[in-house]
């Protein structure tokens, strides 16, 4: 039995410790906002936060998350009101939407460390998240907007 802290809730799960965190989230806890893309940490669709870091859950064994804090897209904010989520709606970023949870989780890791990111900072942070619809320009625009919102709200990302 493995005990996990996910989105501030405790879960006891009977699972092989080598199981990728992604499959525990999706198949055992039914948190399906995190998506499977490539399975080998090449696309970023499965990005979640492990103690605030944007890990790729498809290659992260669930054993690595034991005793740590996991946050998924479902737990990023209480009411879907994280500046990034609001900016994403404002800029109408998503097209098919499949990669967007991973994009937002990576962007949140960026804004946690850098309150005023430049275009280059955004490129540096987001280069591991692929969007096949090519929404990159809207993603960048939304991150810049979210940074402004965050400053106005005085919010800690």
């Amino acid at each position: 039995m493995i005990t996990l802290n996910i989105n501030k809730k405790t879960y006891n799960i009977d699972v092989d410790p080598n199981t990728p965190l992604l499959w525990v989230l999706r198949d055992h806890i039914n948190l399906v906002g995190t998506k499977y893309g490539c399975g080998v940490a090449q696309c970023g669709a499965c990005t979640v936060h492990l103690n605030g870091e944007a890990v790729r859950s498809c290659v992260t064994k669930v054993s690595r998350a034991v005793g740590q804090k996991v946050v998924t897209i479902e737990g990023l904010s209480e009411n879907n009101d994280h500046p990034l989520q609001k900016a994403w709606l404002e800029k109408d970023v998503a097209q098919c939407g499949y990669c967007q949870a991973g994009q937002i989780m990576s962007a949140a890791a960026l804004l946690r460390e850098n309150k005023s990111p430049t275009d280059q900072d955004i490129d540096n942070a987001m280069s591991g998240n692929i969007c096949r619809c090519g929404t990159y320009l809207r993603i960048k625009s939304a991150i810049l907007l979210a940074a402004e919102m965050q400053k106005k709200e005085g919010r800690k990302a």
């Binding site: 940490a41 090449q42 870091e53 944007a54 790729r56 290659v59 064994k61 900072d121």
Partner: protein, 211 residues
């Protein structure tokens, strides 16, 4: 009288020629094999066991390993790590960051786990996975043998490692991981044991740099 003069004056002439010959041979040997341990690293100067020829010979083997992709890929000249047996720029272009562990959502440990991920060309892993930090890049890429030897022996360019730390470094788990990098990656040209032996010989014999 003539014989006396021959013995007295011609013999020293021969001796002079022999000595000159020896000096030339030593000079040629020296120029072929180098001869300077690092000036800043006093630990290595005039050590009892110093042997410049054996030291440089061992470094030839060390260099073959250091320039292999398994070592050089994480000691790039730029801020993006290299990848694969052809040492191309790492896909996704992750950057070094100040501490060598990456930037923002692109930190090494976000994909590289404490151990190798199973499967062909999946991220290899180690708990210490990182590039050298930005204030001490310890570049291997593009370095000629002499340049690299001098860099490694320089306390101010080698991550502040003294002799003991240098010897220890060859046994570091991240260095050793170079011989177990997961499927689809060739190991360095020497075995780990051979590498450590060559590294130790190079350093124990004075840490000399080839010319």
């Amino acid at each position: 009288m003539k014989q006396y003069f021959n013995k007295r004056y011609i013999l020293p002439g021969r001796m002079l020629m022999i000595i000159l010959g020896i000096v030339i041979v030593i000079g040629v040997a020296n120029s072929a094999f180098m001869v300077d341990s690092n000036a800043d690293n006093k630990e290595f100067k005039q050590g009892k066991g110093n042997d410049s020829i054996a030291s440089v010979k061992a470094f030839e083997d060390v260099y073959e390993v250091l320039k292999s992709p398994r070592c050089m890929n994480c000691h790039p000249a730029g801020d993006v790590p290299l990848q694969g047996d052809d040492s191309h720029l790492h896909t996704m272009l992750p950057k070094r960051g100040k501490d060598g562990h990456g930037l923002y959502a692109m930190k090494c440990g976000n994909c590289h786990q404490p151990e190798n991920t199973p499967g062909l060309h999946t991220p290899p892993g180690n708990p210490k996975w990182a590039l050298p930090p930005s204030d001490m890049k310890m570049v291997f890429e593009g370095k000629k043998p002499r340049e690299l030897a001098l860099q490694i022996m320089d306390y101010n360019r080698n991550g502040h490692k003294n002799k003991a730390k240098l010897l220890e470094h060859a046994r570091d788990t991240l260095v050793k991981a170079g011989w177990n990098m997961g499927e689809g990656r060739n190991p360095p040209p020497l075995t780990f044991k051979e590498f450590v032996a060559a590294w130790d010989t190079w350093i124990e014999k004075g840490g000399y740099a080839p010319k």
